[in-house]
Symmetry: C2
Subunit: 462 residues, 2 copies
């Protein structure tokens, strides 16, 4: 695997520290966190270090902290105990780790008790670590969305850095995206009527695991794509249904990808499925086409909404003037989420900071149906990585709501819509890097992207 070599790692981390120092002149402390317990203390979930920590330390060190002070890096971590070596094997010492990440000094964690510098920090979303942060800094650390003063300054500085990815980050996102694409291709091949969602999920996640990567988020693998974040896998696949799979890998350094594909259980799209699939794909392609530095991401969201609305009018599902339909959020009945989000060390990058990263200063979430679910409202900039993921869904709680049916009764041809009942949910999602030339799709590393109807039908038959 293309793991960055040690000198590159050290150089990358040094550059990130210098970039931070330019934006933030105070001391900053970042905690890595610990693995939460599953059902009893010794049986934990897999450890995932805090993303802000990973950004500046890259290594997933448990129970560690780093201080950044004008480019100077101090590491706080304990040497492995004899007990931990017996159960967990030999691990590198504090000094070895300090050398590897280019730290200027290294101390045991307990030295944080004597740490009386008034450092800024960012609350870790792990209650045990959060408690330690408050204790060591002897103050109530605010929730990131409530931060003020130097904590807020630090958050804004970190956002400034993490919005645009450096080469090392992009290399790792690319690595995760390649593995994810392989997982999707494997999922397509494993699909057949009579199999269960759980079996397809297993085929896909085992690819990620075999590459020694992890899943960046809970996989969605379902014939009920209309459940946007479906967490169940118990259905048996029936001929005529579509499988929607939203599965993404995470690199060892924590950089993630986020990919959705939708494919037919029996290998062939029905005529109605083809119409709607191609419509979602057209929206997807139009959005990627529109990606460029300086472009407002919300405009890309509206681009998807417009293409979908136009298409649904052409299909006779929506009726009326496209502008009026958009103004009435008629598209959101079938596309109730945003067109995508930031991607980086988190699948919704920096969502631990509430909307501070996703929304440009002064902006806030709309209260409009659909638009209120948009997670990103900023101008795109070079090095930013975003998802593009339009979709079409028939969500019963939306479409069967009496108020909705009344409000939209003249805009929707319900009889026509009923002809498309073999489409519960379609989403097509790729990870896109903003470049000087426009956009690069990071999720196209396989010879075939398994995205057009023809490619998918081929992939299913391989």
């Amino acid at each position: 695997m293309n793991v960055p070599d040690r000198n590159t790692l050290k150089q990358t981390l040094k550059q990130r520290r210098q970039n931070l120092a330019e934006k933030f002149s105070d001391k900053a402390l970042f905690w890595s966190g610990c693995a939460p317990s599953r059902n009893f203390p010794a049986n934990t979930f897999p450890f995932r270090a805090s993303s802000h920590f990973l950004y500046f330390a890259e290594l997933p060190l448990k129970n560690a902290a780093i201080e950044l002070d004008n480019g100077k890096l101090t590491l706080f971590m304990d040497n492995p105990s004899p007990e931990s070596i017996l159960w967990g094997g030999q691990k590198p010492s504090r000094d070895k780790i300090a050398e590897e990440i280019g730290a200027d000094a290294a101390y045991p964690v307990s030295d944080l008790a004597n740490y009386n510098a008034s450092a800024a920090t960012i609350a870790v979303p792990n209650p045990i670590t959060y408690q330690q942060q408050c204790e060591y800094l002897q103050r109530e650390i605010p929730e990131p969305s409530q931060a003020q003063g130097k904590d807020l300054d630090l958050i804004q500085a970190v956002i400034g850095l993490r919005l645009s990815h450096d080469e090392s980050a992009i290399a790792q996102i690319r690595q995760a995206a390649g593995v994810s694409m392989e997982a999707h291709q494997t999922g397509m091949k494993a699909t057949a009527p009579g199999k269960t969602e759980a079996e397809i999920r297993a085929a896909m996640e085992s690819v990620i695991m075999a590459h020694n990567q992890t899943c960046a988020y809970g996989s969605i693998v379902t014939v009920h794509g209309e459940v946007l974040h479906n967490e169940a896998y118990h259905h048996t696949l029936q001929s005529g249904e579509l499988v929607l799979a939203d599965v993404g890998a995470e690199s060892p350094g924590g950089w993630v990808s986020d990919i959705t594909r939708t494919w037919p259980v029996n290998g062939q799209f029905s005529a109605t499925q083809r119409e709607l699939y191609d419509l979602v794909l057209a929206a997807h392609d139009a959005c990627i086409e529109a990606v460029a530095p300086g472009v407002e991401y919300q405009d890309i969201h509206w681009k998807a909404a417009a293409v979908i609305t136009e298409g649904l009018v052409e299909l006779g599902i929506l009726q009326g003037n496209v502008s009026d339909l958009l103004a009435n959020d008629a598209h959101a009945l079938f596309f109730p989420h945003g067109v995508g989000h930031l991607l980086g060390l988190d699948v919704h990058d920096m969502e631990d900071l509430g909307d501070l990263a996703g929304y440009a200063p002064g902006r806030q979430r709309s209260r409009r149906f659909g638009l209120g679910n948009l997670r990103l409202d900023r101008a795109l900039q070079i090095g930013m990585t975003v998802t593009i993921e339009p979709g079409f869904y028939q969500v019963p709680t939306i479409l069967n709501d009496p108020e909705t049916r009344e409000q939209y009764q003249n805009m929707i041809n319900w009889e026509r819509l009923a002809q498309f009942s073999d489409v519960r949910g379609i989403r097509i999602e790729d990870d896109v890097l903003v470049t000087g030339d426009g956009a690069e799709v990071l999720t196209s590393s396989l010879p075939c992207e398994c995205k057009t109807i023809e490619e998918i039908v081929n992939a299913r038959q391989i």
Copy 2:
């Protein structure tokens, strides 16, 4: 899958409540817990309900609580919100769930705020839920190992129930064990020189996932079996090495299995590997032979120690009188852990209670090397499920420790030991139900148990 039908479930839960009422006459409140966040609030680890809650409610309900009051069951949970239905799909209502588990009454969670009964409870090892427990009961809930008064009474009553499993529990452990055995057989077949540990792990866990079960604990799949709880999977398998795999599935209701097998990468055991493998297997079989109601589990631990010590003397690795060697814990140099533990809703059942469940009242952990790692020191009783998992390891931090080498210089033939350098770690682990007749191995549901050298060599070649 053999999921209990609704009437059986209701009947089982009613019986468990009645059993509790016989041992505990006060009110008891159990919380299910919530899914901890991974890197930001919306990106959580998979939800795992608290085991005590599962025991009395069976269903993995998020953010719910139940009150048990002399056999009467009250459910506290919220109906799904419109937002949660959009993202997570339609879920059963509170009343539907109440009907399913046979609750006598059901209220929203907020009603716990008016809950002024002085109920006993058990602290959940999830800091967010723990906080809720303290707030709703308006007192500092003690850590289970520090519990007193009615909380301790409740803990002892629950231990009394959970030590011996009912039919429904045993059926689900059996179900998990069957899936786990299939995973091990798949792992054996997938093994070949040049593959990575990660690939074998992926093959094994995908079997568990395909059955829509989860892993009961972090899988160990490694050629470095001497690292007792190895969490890494990056080694490439070399001909001549042994793979040690400790992988167990968990049923949808939370009942678990815990199985270890050790097999050769190239399909054949070397002469030295055969000697030590058969020795560990002999210890394993002798222990299972000894399992019966009334037998002290610590005696079974010593049975393993004795068989291993005798064997190592025969092999010329240990030298001297077997009793003296045992008295000096010489066996623990190669078998530093306990022979097993309780198994049920947790892989170390009820370890959230410290040693309250594992150790009979009045007993406590030994300070002796090896014996101090024994997790269970009780007389066996019908319905109890325990693991039997002797092992042989060459742990560098133990065997290279200068003090150890000096202390044991006359007991170990280091030159002879060096001839066994192709054995880093062997463990053979099964799940055993204590029955009136003695013992039933629950992990023998496959036609072949993949346990003897012959069976393993065959399984590798299938």
